[in-house]
Amino acid sequence: MRDLVVATVRDILAAHEPFVLTRERPWDSGLWAELAEAGLTGVGIPEEAGGSGGELADAVAIVATLAAGAAAVPVAEQLLVAAPAVLAADLDLPAPDEPLSAAVDGAVTAEPRDDGDGPGSWTLIGTATDVAWAGVAQHLVVLAGSPVGPVLALVDVAGRETTHAANLAGEPRGSLVLQGVTAAGALLTERQADELRARYALARAVQLSAALEQVLAWTVQYAGERQQFGRPLGKFQAVQMQLAEMAGEVTAVAALVDSAVQAIERGDSPVLAAAAAKVRAGSAVEVVARLAHQVHGAIGFTQEHRLHHLTRRCWSWRDEAGTETAWARVLGAGLLADGPDALWPALTRVL
């Protein structure tokens, strides 16, 4: 099934060239409609919940393929983060063709409503910031703090006003005022909240891994085509060294991210594996994007060339869903949980 799903996504992507995101055109709604029509925005979601079925790995494959294609749609947020969280919390999942995003940075608080709506009803207070696809998503999963513990709230945000902000690639990252909004929600344990944040980080790591791999492929291809001094760039040893260095980074990231996804599929706790994957993928961006642009020369530094669609995303994704530094601290602290003399056993347990 996975190969078929990926082939279908590729076919759909082929008809949608990446475009420069602007305030007026903040996402590729046409692409989303086609993906939704094909059932691809519901993969990994059980059919009885309104989805298309399939496993986490199928959803990961879709997200990776779309990331490599610089697709401007909220599929990573929906398939890998928000929808699984809603299902795990036993809330009603919106239809998969209505974009669903997530805000997990904890800037919002939730108060239980005691007006007869039942314990699953909450009043949200505050502003969700840096919301991926703010203004595009129709529904938002909000990880809020409350006096009784973390709350996962599901908010209908269609038409709700958002501030304009974008990441380096132009993807919407605005804020949503949720002051006094009533939402269905469920209490989570601290561990579940940590795991949700980790899944978001892993989703970005999956996107980074796929995008970095594509950047390498484009750069190798360009080095084979571009002639200078009478031969292809790729025949110069200095350029070969750069491409090999990129390949080392990309291969290391891919191995760690794949293994982290598989660990979560096996049911292992995702937090340290996701932290490691996010940190490692993020740290590869500097090398891979720098060398890709160096090899591409001036043309890669323009909006005319496709390279920026991925390098600008990578420069942002490494900071999103928790910065590299934040996740590095989580990983460092997690590895020392049993004391420094148990560091090595802890490392061999992460993956």
């Binding site: 790729g234 390949a247 290391a252 191995a255 460092g332 003399d341 090595w344 490392l347 993956l351």
Partner: protein
């Protein structure tokens, strides 16, 4: 990603985890008994024949080899777990390391029945040690340019003349698998005319001269061959097939966890500092370094998995060694920037001593087993660029 660079993911087997636990218990007991102390880069510098014999007694050498040669018919994944635990503990494994890692497998692939029966059980017992006889004073990375010659005499024996350098632990080892030119160099076929000889280092005409490394330690040597008569039956593999054999041997040489764990004892010492301070910036440094290490583990485990499938993943091994040895050296600066500890071998602070050991050994990480420039050339080939 080109398929030449990537390998299928693997999950450690229950057997691997079992032997990992056994090795861990053994090492904890040895450390507690004070039979060794942890150091950086001990797989080349920590020679301790008694320790090697203990590993042999426990069945942790020659693990993947057939039982009839003293081996234990275990998987590469199990061997991976054992080697990784030994490296993480900074245990003194240098005496047997080359023999167990590459000389034994080379003998299994190319050796005669007599050579295998004679030597492999002794390696597996932790009693017989090997050195790599590849580089020469005038041939570093350009192995095809070696000049050590072997010619047949009237008795059918080989007469060897020349010199090998950077032969780690030749002064404590028994054999050198020596790459020699058995036919005159042919500029049109640079890789032709090379052969491997199994040379007993106690033979007359061999001189081992120490070469000190930066910290004053002695594992490097120059080995000079002056009309050394090597019995004719000590040819390893086929005459003229040396280049191919060396290439296969390098896949074993380049693929193991020693290519990213040489400075792990420094990380372990740093972790003690971080746990004491709880400093957020130090925690982040530990996390960053750990994420790189975890990625390298996954790559290296995949190579072990490929070896279990009977593959010889030379291109992925070159890639792992490039990324891994770069990491080993980067660890030093990551730790340096996170602490206020001057590096000194005489430091009262164990972290200062670990920094000093790691730094003084650092230039070697990205040279030994093929420079990173050579490795990147191999990776570039994997990318289809050459």
């Amino acid at each position: 990603m080109p398929s030449t660079l990537t390998l299928a993911p693997v999950v450690p087997s229950a057997a691997a985890e079992q032997v990992r636990a056994e090795v861990r218990e053994f090492l904890a007991a040895e450390l507690a008994a004070g039979t060794f102390t942890t150091h950086v880069d001990t797989w080349l510098s920590g020679v301790d024949p008694a320790f090697s014999r203990k590993l042999g007694e426990r069945g942790w050498l020659g693990m993947t080899w057939p039982r009839r040669y003293g081996g234990h018919e275990r998987t590469a994944m199990e061997r991976y777990a054992v080697t990784e635990e030994l490296l993480a503990a900074g245990a003194p494994v240098a005496a047997h390391w080359i023999a167990d890692r590459q000389s034994g497998p080379n003998l299994l692939r190319y050796g005669t029945e007599a050579q295998r029966a004679e030597i492999l059980p002794r390696i597996a017992a932790g009693e017989c040690y090997f050195v790599i006889g590849m580089s020469e004073p005038d041939s570093g990375s350009d192995l095809a340019s070696i000049r050590t010659r072997a010619t047949r005499n009237g008795d059918g024996d080989w007469v060897v003349n020349g010199a090998k350098v950077w032969t780690s632990n030749a002064h404590t080892s028994h054999y050198a698998i020596t790459l020699v030119r058995t036919s005159p160099a042919d500029p049109a076929h640079r890789h032709a005319g090379l052969s491997q000889l199994l040379v007993d280092l106690s033979l007359p005409g061999i001189t081992v001269n120490p070469i000190r490394i930066l910290d004053g330690g002695h594992h490097f040597n120059e080995v000079v061959f002056d009309d050394v008569v090597v019995p004719g039956d000590m040819l390893l593999g086929e005459e003229g097939n040396g280049w191919h054999q060396v290439t296969a041997e390098l896949a074993f040489e380049r693929s193991g966890p020693e290519r990213f764990l040489s400075t792990y004892p420094l990380i372990a010492e740093f972790a003690r500092r971080v746990a004491d301070s709880g400093d957020p910036a130090q925690l982040a440094t530990l996390g960053r370094v750990s994420a790189r290490l975890l990625a390298l583990r996954q790559l290296s485990l995949r190579i072990a998995g490929a070896l279990d499938r009977g593959e010889l993943p030379d291109i992925p091994a070159a890639l792992v060694k490039d990324v891994g040895t770069t990491f080993e050296a980067d660890v030093i600066d990551e730790v340096r920037r996170a602490v206020d500890v001057p590096a000194s071998l005489d430091s009262p602070d164990p972290l200062g001593r670990a920094l000093a050991e790691a730094q003084l050994h650092a230039p070697g990480y990205t040279l030994r087993g093929g420079t990173n420039e050579i490795l990147r050339g191999i990776v570039a080939r994997g990318l289809g660029l050459r």
